[in-house]
Every structure is written in structure tokens, then in C-alpha cells.
């Protein structure tokens, strides 16, 4: 009696759960929404929930990101801070990095090295902050002084501390005095945001954080940490008012939910779509995938320093690893066809990238021979430290590499760890591992990525005098031809010595609603909304 009841109820429950699972589209090719329902993303009242101050007819774009944007303070911005993308809509730097990796004027109109140690920058005239304050040389000096002040300890300071003095020449000319010749100044000028000096002095740093005011295309409206940030178009933007009226940035940490919100028409752009969910986006008639190949190469960074006693100190072991990894398969299976296989530190389009350098072919037999020659005919054990959630593909790539290396006799202990536990392996000499899975960003500047093989970097794990000479020359040489030759030569040395086993160029995939027009993903995860428009709802 009772048992049959329990059994039947259990059966019903299981059946309903399975049904619920089955209701969900299983084939990626099948659109989740029936074609009978035209464009639900616009037909459905798109989340009345979110507070919007704009009138109903206005164009509101809703963007979902994974990371929690925590503060509107520009002190954290300039690298890849938690609110980088959002802050960049409100504040602007002097220069900017375009989608194709060039440095272009933004608040500056031109810059030149007036002598070895001085950069003179002409500023854009007629630019106003969102509170009406004039943008001028004082604002630039004020902002740079703040960023350079050791007391403030902004993360960006390390990158710009070659500047030892900022002088205003006239109202729209600023002179940057550097302690050493610094050809990279225009590149790093794209990381320092300009804030309004009078307002900041008036309301204080905290006041500016609570109610940020910059020169950018969007104005601050509301910020609810952990939930959303609302910005509206700044009518007086010097570059002309943007086409959309309002942008709501939402934080949706769970990837499956991010995609679901896109499908449900609650968001228009969703960032950081995991590879495995791309088919879902592609399969939805109202959505499409946009991606940019990023300026970062995922790699296994080797600890080659003899003092550390790792087996990978032997060049042949590194070469064996290089030959034992089947990049193409990993790329196809785990990157879902976006990004690219890459065999060098720099990525295509970056100054110094050598198109002639190809990744080593997959050759397990050669790997075995190299291992035997290195004195490991019966294999060896290696440690691989791997972050989880730091890169588009990290944990999975590490596990696939572990599997592939096992086939040539390398027993890899893949330590999957949260980012904060993994980071010290790159920056703490006491924490060492044979291999670290890492992606070094160039942000468009070759030196930024190539520095990790140089002795000038405190945390280097490989020493090569010839490389160092080339690196230093490329850093300060003002002749572009010579610089490029330097980078080519460096890449050749790296290719031969294998201080890192390069794997793939990472991509930044976005799920985008078809009502979004002119959206172009940026290779370093910025979201540029200047030209973005929305189709009018039907």
C-alpha cells in the first residue's frame, strides 16, 4: 500500500523533473522561442523591474557583465579593474586604444617628444565636464598628480611612474617630464582618466566616487553595488551626443543566467559567454555572437631558473612539452572556434608580431625522444598551477593539457585554484611551480607582454642576456624599424628556448541581441558604446 504510493509518487516526481529538463531546448540548432512568436526580445515588456528614469520611448541598452563592479572610483581603473568598462563611459583619458590596437587622440589632440625626457601634449579645446567645468591643462595636471602620488597608491601608478613631473605650459598644453626616455607614454596615457579638479576639491574624493563626473559620453545616474549601474547620455559630449539614451549595466555572475537573460529579452548584450554556451546564443533567432580576438596569449609559463631545480630548467623538457600539446584539438574543442592557435607571445596586429612564427606541430614521438634525451625515458612529474574563471578557458584547458602530456609520459599534477591563490605563483618568489597557466596581455603594447621574459621584471623565470639587450633596446629605441627587428629577434629566441609554451589567443565573445546596431567588441574587453544604436521597438 504505502510502498506503492511512495513508488508512484517518486515516479511522478522523477518524471516531472525529467520533463522539466526536457522542456528546455536540447538541440542548439532549434530556436528556443517558437517562430510563431515574432521577436520576443522586443515584444516582451523588457523587465519593468529595473529603475529607469528615462521616458518610455527612450533607447535603453542593457548590458550584463560577470564581474561585480564595486566602485565608481577611478583609482581602481586603468588596467583591468573591476569597473573598468563602466568607468570608461563616464571618464576619459588623453589617448585611446582602438579596436584594431592603435593609439588615437581622445582628450589630447596631439603629442610629441620634444626632447628625450619630455612629452608635450596638446589638449582638445572646448571640452566640458558633465558639471560644466572646463577641461584644460589644470585638470590633466591634477589628475596625473593624483595618480602619481605614492600616498594614493593607485594600481596604475606602477605603469606611469617614469613620469616625474607634470607641468602646464598653457591652458591647453601639458608637459610630461620623464626620468628616462619613454616611447610608450602615449600608450599608457590611455590608462589615466581625467577628473574635474574644482569639483573634486569641493566634494572630495569620496564625493566624486558617490557622484562621478567626467568628460565622457555618459553621465552617472544610479549605482547599486552587486546589482546594477545606470548611466544616461551626456548631451554636451564633445564628440556629439551618443545615439542611445540610457545604459543599464547589470551584474549577472552565473553564465547560464546571463545567457538566459539575453534570451528572455532582459538584456541586449551579455559579456563573457562561456564557449559551451555559444551554441545557445547562435541558436536563438533573436541573438547573435560577436567576438574580438583579445590581445592576450594563453600559455604555460615555465620556471627555468636553475636555482629552482625544476625539470623544465632543461630546454629539451620544455621543447618536449611544446611538441606534446595538440593545440588544434584543444582550440577546436574548448574555444569553440573563436580566438586562434598562437605560437608566440604577441598576437596578430600588435607591433612586433611575427607572422612567420608558427606554433610547433603536434608530435608526441618527438616529445618522447626529447624527454629520453633529457634523461627522462620513463617520464617525469610536473606541477601546473591553473586559475579558475580568470580566463575564458583555463581550468578545462589545464585538464586537457594534463591528459595530453600524460600520453608522452609527463605526469602533470594540475592544481586548479581560485585566482587569488593562483596569483602569488606569478609574483611571490617563495611560491614556485614548474608551470603556470597564464595569459599575458599586451594591451596593444609589445613591451607590456614581452617584459615577462626579461630580467628587468622582478618575477622573471628565465634569463637570457641577448633577449634582455634586445628588450631594453626596443623599449627606448625611437626608430620603429629597429624596434620591430628587435621584437622579431626576441620572438625567435623565445621560440628556440621555450621559456613559455604558447597555446592560444583568447577571444572575448559577446551574446548580442539583434536589435543592437554597430556594436564592435574591443580586444581588451572594453565596450565602446559611442556608435551603438538600438532598433526602434516594433
Amino acid at each position: 500500500m504505502r510502498r506503492s504510493k511512495i513508488v508512484s509518487v517518486t515516479a511522478i516526481l522523477v518524471a516531472s523533473l525529467v520533463l522539466l529538463a526536457a522542456c528546455v531546448p536540447t538541440a542548439p540548432g532549434v530556436p528556443a522561442t517558437a517562430p510563431a512568436q515574432p521577436a520576443p526580445s522586443t515584444a516582451v515588456p523588457a523587465q519593468p523591474a529595473l529603475p529607469t528614469t528615462a521616458p518610455a520611448a527612450s533607447k535603453v541598452i542593457r548590458i550584463a557583465t560577470a564581474q561585480g563592479c564595486t566602485t565608481m572610483s577611478i583609482s581602481l581603473a586603468g588596467g583591468m579593474g573591476p569597473c573598468e568598462i563602466q568607468i570608461h563611459q563616464i571618464f576619459e583619458p588623453l589617448t585611446w586604444r582602438t579596436v584594431d590596437g592603435k593609439i588615437v587622440p581622445l582628450l589630447a589632440t596631439s603629442w610629441n617628444m620634444v626632447d628625450q625626457n619630455d612629452w608635450q601634449v596638446k589638449l582638445r579645446q572646448g571640452v566640458k565636464f558633465q558639471n560644466g567645468e572646463d577641461f584644460n591643462a589644470d585638470a590633466v595636471k591634477f589628475s596625473y598628480d593624483k595618480a602619481l602620488d605614492p600616498k594614493n597608491n593607485w594600481p596604475i601608478r606602477s605603469n606611469i611612474q617614469l613620469i616625474d613631473r607634470v607641468d602646464t605650459v598653457d591652458n591647453y598644453t601639458v608637459n610630461f617630464h620623464t626620468s628616462k626616455p619613454w616611447p610608450d607614454f602615449p600608450f599608457f596615457a590611455a590608462s589615466v582618466y581625467i577628473m574635474p579638479p574644482k569639483l573634486t576639491q569641493q566634494v572630495g574624493d569620496d564625493g566624486l566616487i558617490a557622484n562621478p563626473v567626467g568628460t565622457g559620453p555618459f553621465q552617472f545616474v544610479e549605482f547599486v553595488p552587486g546589482d546594477h549601474l545606470t548611466l544616461k547620455a551626456f548631451d554636451g559630449y564633445w564628440g556629439g551626443r551618443v545615439k542611445i539614451d540610457q545604459v543599464v549595466w547589470r551584474i549577472i555572475p552565473e553564465p547560464a543566467t546571463r545567457v538566459a537573460s539575453l534570451q528572455a529579452g532582459e538584456t541586449d548584450i551579455a559579456a563573457q559567454i562561456p564557449m559551451d554556451l555559444l551554441p545557445v546564443v547562435k541558436g536563438d533567432a533573436n541573438l547573435h555572437v560577436d567576438f574580438a580576438n583579445e590581445q592576450v596569449t594563453l600559455q604555460l609559463f615555465m620556471d627555468t631558473l636553475p636555482a629552482n631545480g625544476s625539470p623544465v630548467a632543461d630546454k629539451r623538457v620544455r621543447q618536449a612539452i611544446d611538441s606534446a600539446i595538440d593545440r588544434d584539438t584543444i582550440w577546436k574543442a574548448l574555444m569553440g572556434g573563436v580566438g586562434a592557435v598562437n605560437g608566440q607571445m604577441l598576437t596578430p596586429g600588435i607591433f612586433g608580431y611575427d607572422p612567420d612564427i608558427k606554433p610547433n606541430p603536434y608530435d608526441p614521438d618527438k616529445a618522447k625522444q626529447l624527454l629520453a634525451a633529457a634523461g627522462y625515458p620513463n617520464g617525469l612529474k610536473l606541477q601546473l598551477q591553473c586559475p579558475v574563471g580568470k580566463y575564458l578557458v583555463d581550468r578545462d584547458a589545464c585538464l586537457a593539457i594534463k591528459d595530453q602530456l600524460a600520453k608522452v609520459g609527463i605526469d602533470v599534477q594540475a592544481n586548479i585554484m581560485e585566482t587569488a591563490a593562483w596569483a602569488p605563483y606569478l609574483q611571490d618568489p617563495k611560491k614556485r611551480a614548474d608551470m603556470i597557466y597564464v595569459g599575458w596581455y599586451s594591451y596593444g603594447n609589445p613591451a607590456q607582454a614581452m617584459q615577462w621574459f626579461s630580467k628587468t621584471q622582478a618575477w622573471h623565470r628565465w634569463e637570457n642576456d641577448q633577449y634582455d639587450q634586445l628588450f631594453l633596446d626596443a623599449k627606448t629605441n625611437t626608430d620603429d624599424k629597429a624596434r620591430q627587428q628587435d621584437y622579431f629577434k626576441m620572438a625567435e629566441i623565445v621560440k628556440e628556448e621555450v621559456p613559455s609554451v604558447f597555446l592560444m589567443q583568447q577571444a572575448a565573445p559577446y551574446g548580442v541581441s539583434n536589435r543592437v546596431l554597430n556594436f564592435k567588441p574591443h580586444p581588451i574587453q572594453y565596450i565602446d558604446l559611442l556608435h551603438v544604436d538600438l532598433k526602434a521597438p516594433k
Binding site: R2, K5, I6, V9, T10, L13, L20, A21, C23, V24, P25, A32, T33, P40, Q47, P48, A49, L50, P51, G68, T70, T71, S73, S75, P82, P150, N153, P155, S158, N159, V224, P225, G226, D227, H228, R250, I251, I252, P253, E254, A256, T257, A260, S261, Q263, A264, G265, E266, T419, A420, A421, A423, P424, Q427, D428, Q448, Q451, Q457, A458, W459
Partner: protein
Amino acid sequence: MNRFIGKRLLQLPFSVLGITLIVFVLIRMTGDPVVLYLPPDATQEARAQLTRQLGLDQPLPVQYGVFILNLLHGDLGQSLYYKKPALDVVVSYIPATLQLMGTALIVAALLGMVLGLTCAFWKGSLFDTFFVTLSVFGQAMPSFWLGIMLILFFAVNLHWLPASGRGTWANMVLPTITLLMYLLPSTLLLVRSSAIEILAEDFLTVARAKGLSQRAILLRHVLKNALNPTISSLGLQMGSLMGGAIVTETVFAWPGLGRLSVEAVLSRDFSVVQAAVVVLATWVVLSNLLADVANSIIDPRLQAG
């Protein structure tokens, strides 16, 4: 009664101090926030500077002493990533947390009472068996599985409800159901069992013999006796749900305290972790105390200890 409350309130600071000490030491063992905060090419000097600024160069006992001194002044430090006082950050997450947890708890309590009593009265019926089995299922079902399935079904396929975020009542439905799936079983089973226990007891037989109507029996005795364990369980749930609904909060992008504290741990924002723990510990102790007090008011025989 007053002495009991006083005693428990007196214990409160010690509980809070105890847990902050443990958390304070543990979080400092998990690594250096400077490594994560500054870019990898930051100079040694910048690192040293930030370490000094955060007070991390001091010996641990000194750091803790400073922390306690500031705590006494209501200052829980500045958040590294929020750029405002850590306590403000934690407090700003409380309304959303209370909204979702409060709704889920109230629904669970009411529904649990009704269903539990019904189950008890018709013990062994199909209704009863269904809900008891569902409860066992609910306990073993992963929250994220249920949550994502609900989103895919109700938000993506049917377009009935929003998938995520916080806003109108519609945003509350799916996360509340997900939370209910593990709140309801405990309340339901609890009410049911106490009701069955009471229904079998002698005084009810006497009451029936005295000719009291069914409804009177239900209200006067069963409900009153079923209330006690329900309140104890509510007290517990109230305490643990504040920081313990991490999966639901993450899946539904709900800005709750659980998510905040996990994110703070992962980003090594020490002062936010500490502030969250101080708030959570106070809350847990108070809600348990509240439950005990409520119980002894309802049933004076239960002198809580």
C-alpha cells in the same frame, strides 16, 4: 526571563569576538590582498606601500588589536574594492537580502504550517505521501539545477517571469521558489511531526471526550504546540539563510549578503569579510535568541536556557 535574555545578550559580544578572531586569522592565512590588487608588474615599492597602508606589515596580534579598537568605535575598516567603509558596504546589501529571505521564510512558514497540518490530519494519504516524498527530494536537489531549470522554463521558454535581478515582485518568484525547495521541507516535516505527536496525546482524547469541536481542537492545541518547533527552526533558518543562500543569490543575480561575503573572500577584501562576519554573527545569535524568547512566551513551560 529577563535574566535569561540578559545572559544571552552578554554572551553576544564574546561570540562575535570569537568568530572575528577566527576569521581574522584565517583570512590572513589565505594570502596577500596586495598581490591581487596591484598589477603583476607593480614595483616592490608600491607593494610595500600598500601593505603598510593596509596595516598588513604589523604583527598579527597588533593588527587584531587595532581592529578591535576600531570596532569599538564602529569602524570596520575601509573596503579595498568598494572604496568606502566596509560596514556601509555590508549594510547596503542587507535590504535585498532581507527582502528575499524574509519572503521565502514567511512563505515557507505559512505554507509549511498549512501543508504540515493537512498532512498530519490525513496522515498516510496520497497528499501526505506526496509532500513528504517531495521534501526528501527537495533536500537532495541541487539549488543551482532547480534555479537554472526554472529560469530556462519560466523566463526563456514561457516569458512569464524575469530571469534575474532585483526589482518588482515578479523578480522574487523564481528565487523564492528555489529557496522554498529547501526551506519548506524542514518546516513542513516539523509541523507535521509535532501535530501528529500532539494528536496522539492524551489531552486531546480528553478534549474530544469533552466535546470540543474539531476546529477548536486544531486551533487551541495543535497549532499552539506545533508553533514551538516551527519557531525554533525559523530562528535557525533566519540566522543561516542570511549568509547561506549563496547559490540562489548567484544564480538569480540577487545582490545578497551571501554572495557579497563569498566575493569578498575570493577577492581578499579583508575588511568586507570581517564586517560581513560581524553582522552575520550578530544576526545569527539574535535570531536564535529571538526564537527562544518567542518560544518561552508561547509556552512558559519551556524555560529556555
